[in-house]
Symmetry: C2
Subunit: 218 residues, 2 copies
């Protein structure tokens, strides 16, 4: 029996072609399956099969489906917020530039991993607070350079006086929502996957323009 905490050791003495360890294979498979089907619809045997391992190994390495899930979930939420943090806390870039970079970042990320947002939103219904604390999301966003710039611009009368939450909802709504709704959208307008992707590429340019307008309007 090997505890989770002891696992990191082995990783250090890698030479070349690291060849994924069993633990890594499980994590990768779990990520794929959980993201695609969600926690409840996922069978631990699906994960084992996807990882190409005996299904008892899952409990050997991670003790339970629940524990494994929490690790995957935490990783995914971290990923979702980490680069946002970088963009939001860059003191060099303007508010407008930040919007551009956020749109770019998310559209790239979600084009590669379209399941992320629905997964996060679904699973946040049961315990958002804990997760947000674990990744420090509140601090990343609400104490960011971005928020200060926003409030400064409001003070200077450059943009409309409104709580920044609206702004957050708008940017995420315009960038992230299409991925969440993509099955519906594709059915509604008859779009192929590639057509949808190029629509989203188009939005990289459009969203910053739109948001600029929104900021000023009342």
């Amino acid at each position: 029996m090997v505890k989770l905490e002891q696992m990191a050791k082995k990783e250090l003495k890698m030479t070349a072609v690291p060849d994924p360890s069993t633990e890594e294979k499980i994590m990768a498979a779990a990520r794929t399956v959980f993201l695609e089907k969600g926690f409840a619809a996922t069978r631990t045997r699906d994960i084992a099969e996807a990882a190409g391992i005996n299904h008892a190994l899952l409990n050997y390495y991670f003790r339970s489906k629940e524990k494994l899930f929490q690790i995957i979930m935490l990783n995914t939420v971290k990923q979702f917020f980490s680069s946002l943090s970088v963009v939001f806390n860059n003191p060099e870039t303007s508010l407008e530039k930040k919007v551009e970079e956020v749109a770019n970042y998310y559209i790239n990320l979600l084009t590669a991993h379209p399941d992320i947002p629905l997964f996060i939103m679904t699973e946040m219904k049961k315990g958002a607070k804990d997760l947000m604390n674990q990744v420090g999301a509140k601090e990343i966003v609400m104490k960011s350079v971005f928020i200060k710039q926003y409030q400064q611009a409001v003070k200077e009368g450059k943009i409309q006086k409104l709580p920044p939450v609206h702004f957050l909802m708008n940017v995420l709504g315009l960038t992230v929502f299409p991925f969440i709704a993509s099955p519906m959208i594709k059915g509604l307008v008859d779009l192929s996957d590639t057509e949808f992707t190029s629509l989203m590429q188009e939005r990289k340019k459009l969203i910053p323009i739109w948001v600029k307008m929104i900021l000023k309007a009342t």
Copy 2:
């Protein structure tokens, strides 16, 4: 044994206080539980308990969890699109007025039933096309008076030349997304339920203004 098709009969000879039939009790309970937990996480026994009936009755009336789910799903998607259809196909109202009415309609609906969008989006991942056809969503939206007005306005140079899908994504993104992301948003900004609701009320006025700007901008 009674078939689903024969059920409607009884409903006709109602006098007063109709007192929900067993079938209705099951449907109501199923709606609540499915919307809250999704298909996979829902146990038929949960539904039976919520409906206050013996759990064998569920199969007696609806044959299977799957069948019951499809009925609920269809109802919910219909509800989501039906009033949209009315708004979108009113020849009396302007494009701007339609945006206002859509925002109003959805914010009212989702304030009362916040689980609807996440439920629909999640379950659409497995078979959006079928559902969209069954409710005629494509026709409702893409052949609507609204779309004609949109294309006319583009032709007249009143609004930016862009495929209407972008517009759809924008309106839905601004109105529907906040409900999908509400657990995250609430955790991020520390909002109570009532604070969130009043934010959404605020957006009833803001979204039409914002969308008007978006339509013109490039």
